[in-house]
Amino acid sequence: MESDRLSMVKDLPKTRVQGIRTMSQEKREQMIGYLFVLPALIYMLAVIGYPIVYNFILSFQDVTAFTIGSPERPLVGLQNYRAVFKEEIMVIAIKNTLFYTILCICFQFTLGFAFAIFFNQKFHLAKPIRGIIVVSWIIPITVTALVFKYMLNSEGGVIDGVLIKLGILSKPVGWLLHRETAMWGPIIANTWIGVPFNMLLLATGLAGIPEELYESASIDGANGFQRFVHITLPLLKPAIMAVLILGFVYTFKVFDLIYVMTSGGPVNATEVLSTYSYLKSFVTYNFSQGAAVANVLFVCLFSVAVLYLRMIGKDEVA
C-alpha cells in the first residue's frame, strides 16, 4: 500500500536515509537542481543583466544632454555621486522613500493578513467578496492615482467631505497640499492597491495548513491566539517573508503612482528616489546623475534583500 510505503520512509531516521545516498548521488541531485533553475536564470541574465551593468557604468561617466552625442564616454569616478549627495533633495528623497515604503508595507500587510484570515472562514459570501476585493489591484495605477487625487482634494474632495459630515474633521485637511501630510496620499492609495496582493498570497499559504493541526491543538487546550502564534505564524513564515520582501522591493521603487498623484510635490514632499532619478534623467537630461540616484536605490534594496536571505536562511532546508 502506498500509505505503508510512505510511513516506512517516514520512519527511517534521517541519517540512515542520507547514508543510503552516495556522494555522486549528492552531486547528481545538485546538478538536477541547477537544471531546474537554469532556464529562468539565463533568461533574466540575458535580458536584465545588461541594463544593470549599463546603469552601473553610466553612473561613473559624464553623460548629459551635451555629451550624449559623442561616442566617447570617459569615466569620471565618483563625481556624479558626490554631486547628487550634495543636493539636499537627495536626502529628502531617501527619507521619503523609506517612510513611504515602511508605512505602506505595514498597512498593506496587516490589512491583507487580517482579510486573509477573515475570509478564510466558512461563510457564504467569503469567496465572492474576497474575489471582488482583488479589483483594487487590477485597476491601472494611473486611474487609481487620479481617483485618489480627486478624492483627497481639499475643495470638494469626497474623503474630506465624508469625514467632515461624520464630525471627525472640522475643515478639509488639504492632504496633498502640505509637506507633513502629502505623503499620506500615495500611502493610502498604495495600501488600497496592495492589500489584495498580500491577502491572496497569505490566503494561499493559509489554505495549505491542514485543519488537523488546529483541531489537535484545541483538543490540547490551546486557545485561538495560541493557535495563531504557534501554528499559523511558523507555518506561514516562508510565505510571509516572500510577500514582505517582494512588497518592499516593488513599493520602494514606486514611480507611476507618485508621479501621477503629486509629481513629487508639493515642493519636494513626495519626491522619492525613482521620481528623482527620472527627473534627473529625463527632465534635466543629466543621465549619469540619474543613473547614480537609481544605483543608490539599487544598493538600498540589495541590502534589504541580503537581510531577507539571512532571515530565511536558517529554516529552509533543501
Binding site: 545588461y50 552625442g69 508639493p266 515642493v267 534635466t284 537630461y285
Partner: protein, 422 residues
C-alpha cells in the same frame, strides 16, 4: 559546478552586453538611398492627439496624395513625454525618424544634443521665411543656427466668466494687478462658497512654469534674475492672492487641463489658459458666457510662448525631401488649415487675424496677445532652470519659505546652471 555556473554567468553577461553578437538586419524601415523608381519613406513623429492629431494626419495624407509614387510620409504618434524620451533613446540607439515635432522650450536642448539638423541655409533660401514672426522663431535657434521652426504657437490669456462678473457688478476685465485684486475681492463676496476668483496651474512641471513665468516677466524680470526686486514683487503678489483666498491653495496640484474643468464648472471666475481650450470650454459649459483679455500687467503685458516646432533629424538620409515636406506644411494655406483645426495661432505674419478666424472672436483676441509673447528661456538647459523655478514658486505658494529666500536660493542655482553652459 560552481565553475560552470560562473562561466555561464560571464557568457550571459557578455552575450547581453554585446547584444547577441551579430547585428541582424533590422526590419524597421531604413530605406536605401532612393533609386529612380523607389518611394522615399519619411518617418514623422508627433505627439498631438484628438482634433490636433486629426488635423495633422489629414494634412500628411494630403501631402502623400500629392507626392504619390515619390515620397511617403509615415506618421507615428506617441504621447508627449514618451516622444521626448524617445528622441534621447533614439539618438543613442540610432533609431531616429526623419522629421519630428518638439515643444518649443525643449528645442534648444535637443539641438544641443545633436538630435536636430541645422536648417539655417535652407530657411534663408526659402522665400516664405520673411513672414515668420521673430518671437516664436527665437525658440528655434541655438548658437546662431536654426534647428526648428514654429508652426502653431500659442500663448496664455485671462479667461473670465461674464455671468459671474455681472453678478459681482464688474463691468470690465482687470487690466493691472491692482485691478485684479479689486475684482477678486468683489468676486469673492458675491460668489458662492468654494468658488475662487482666479485659478492658475502652478503644478510642479513645465506647464506650471508656463503659467507663472508671465507674471515674473510682466514685472520686468526673468528667470535669470529671480532675486531681483521685480521678481520678488511678482511672486509676493501671487502668494498674496493665495493668502487672501483669491486663489485656492490647491493650485500647486492643478495643471492647465484641470483648471479648464474648474472654470467650466463655475468653480473659478477667471483662469489663465490658452486658446487650445476653446473647444473644450464650449463643450463643457455650452451656456456659459465668457471672454478673453490680456493677463493683468504690472509694468507691461506679458505672456509665455507655447506651441510646437517642427524639425528635421540630424540622422536623416533624406534632408531635401524632408525639407520639402516642412515647407509644404508651413505654406500659408496648409498652416491656416492646421492652426484652425487645432485652435492655435499662426507664426506667419502674412496671415491676418481676420483671415485666420473671421468669426471666432475669442481666437482673434488670442492672436492679439501674441505681440506680448516671448519664448521661455531660451536655453539649452531650460528644463533644468524650469525645474528650479518650479520648486521656488511652489515654496512660495505653500509658504514653506519666505518669498525672498526661495527666490534668492533659486537665483543662485540658476546662475550655476547658466555658468555651466559653455
Amino acid at each position: 559546478m560552481k565553475k560552470l555556473l560562473v562561466s555561464l554567468l560571464a557568457l550571459s553577461i557578455g552575450f547581453a552586453a554585446f547584444g547577441g553578437g551579430k547585428k541582424e538586419e533590422t526590419p524597421a524601415a531604413k530605406p536605401a538611398p532612393a533609386k529612380a523608381a523607389e518611394v522615399v519613406e519619411l518617418r514623422f513623429w508627433h505627439y498631438h492627439s484628438t482634433v490636433t492629431m486629426d488635423a495633422m494626419n489629414g494634412l500628411v495624407a494630403q501631402y502623400n496624395e500629392k507626392m504619390k509614387g515619390k515620397v511617403f510620409v509615415k506618421v507615428e504618434q506617441l504621447p508627449r513625454n514618451e516622444l521626448l524620451k524617445k528622441y534621447t533613446m533614439g539618438l543613442i540607439a540610432k533609431e531616429l525618424p526623419d522629421i519630428g515635432i518638439v515643444d518649443n522650450p525643449d528645442n534648444q536642448t535637443f539641438s544641443a544634443m545633436g538630435v536636430f539638423a541645422d536648417v539655417s541655409a535652407e530657411f534663408k533660401a526659402w522665400k516664405d521665411s520673411q513672414y515668420f514672426m521673430a518671437g516664436p522663431m527665437e525658440s528655434g535657434y541655438y548658437k546662431g543656427k536654426l534647428y526648428g521652426i514654429p508652426y502653431s504657437p500659442n500663448c496664455l490669456g485671462l479667461w473670465y466668466n461674464i455671468d459671474m462678473f455681472e453678478k459681482a457688478g464688474i463691468k470690465e476685465p482687470p487690466k493691472t494687478w491692482a485691478d485684479l485684486e479689486a475684482v477678486s475681492a468683489a468676486l469673492l463676496k458675491s460668489a458662492k462658497p468654494g468658488t475662487y476668483p482666479l485659478a492658475i496651474g502652478a503644478i510642479k512641471d513645465e506647464s506650471g512654469s508656463f503659467q507663472v513665468l508671465p507674471w515674473v516677466r510682466s514685472a520686468g524680470a526673468n528667470v535669470d534674475n529671480l532675486d531681483s526686486p521685480e521678481a520678488v514683487k511678482a511672486l509676493t503678489f501671487l502668494t498674496g492672492m493665495v493668502k487672501k483666498g483669491y486663489m485656492t491653495k490647491e493650485i500647486i496640484n492643478l495643471n492647465q487641463n484641470t483648471i479648464e474643468k474648474e472654470f467650466a464648472a463655475g468653480n473659478a471666475a477667471m483662469m489663465i489658459n490658452g486658446p487650445w481650450n476653446i473647444p473644450a470650454v464650449k463643450k463643457d459649459a455650452p451656456t456659459m458666457r465668457w471672454d478673453i483679455a490680456p493677463i493683468p500687467k504690472d509694468k507691461e503685458y506679458a505672456s509665455a510662448l507655447g506651441g510646437e516646432n517642427i524639425a528635421i533629424m540630424s540622422t536623416t538620409k533624406f534632408k531635401k525631401e524632408a525639407w520639402d515636406f516642412v515647407t509644404w506644411f508651413l505654406a500659408k494655406e496648409n498652416n491656416i488649415t492646421f492652426v484652425r483645426a487645432a485652435s492655435r495661432l499662426s507664426p506667419r505674419s502674412d496671415i491676418s487675424p481676420d483671415e485666420l478666424y473671421p468669426t471666432d472672436k475669442e481666437m482673434k483676441k488670442f492672436v492679439g496677445l501674441m505681440q506680448y509673447t516671448k519664448a521661455r528661456g531660451p536655453s539649452p538647459k531650460w528644463t533644468e532652470i524650469s525645474n528650479v523655478f518650479q520648486i521656488a514658486y511652489q515654496e512660495c505658494f505653500t509658504e514653506t519659505k519666505p518669498v525672498e529666500q526661495a527666490l534668492k536660493e533659486a537665483a543662485k542655482k540658476i546662475a550655476e546652471i547658466n555658468a555651466s553652459i559653455k
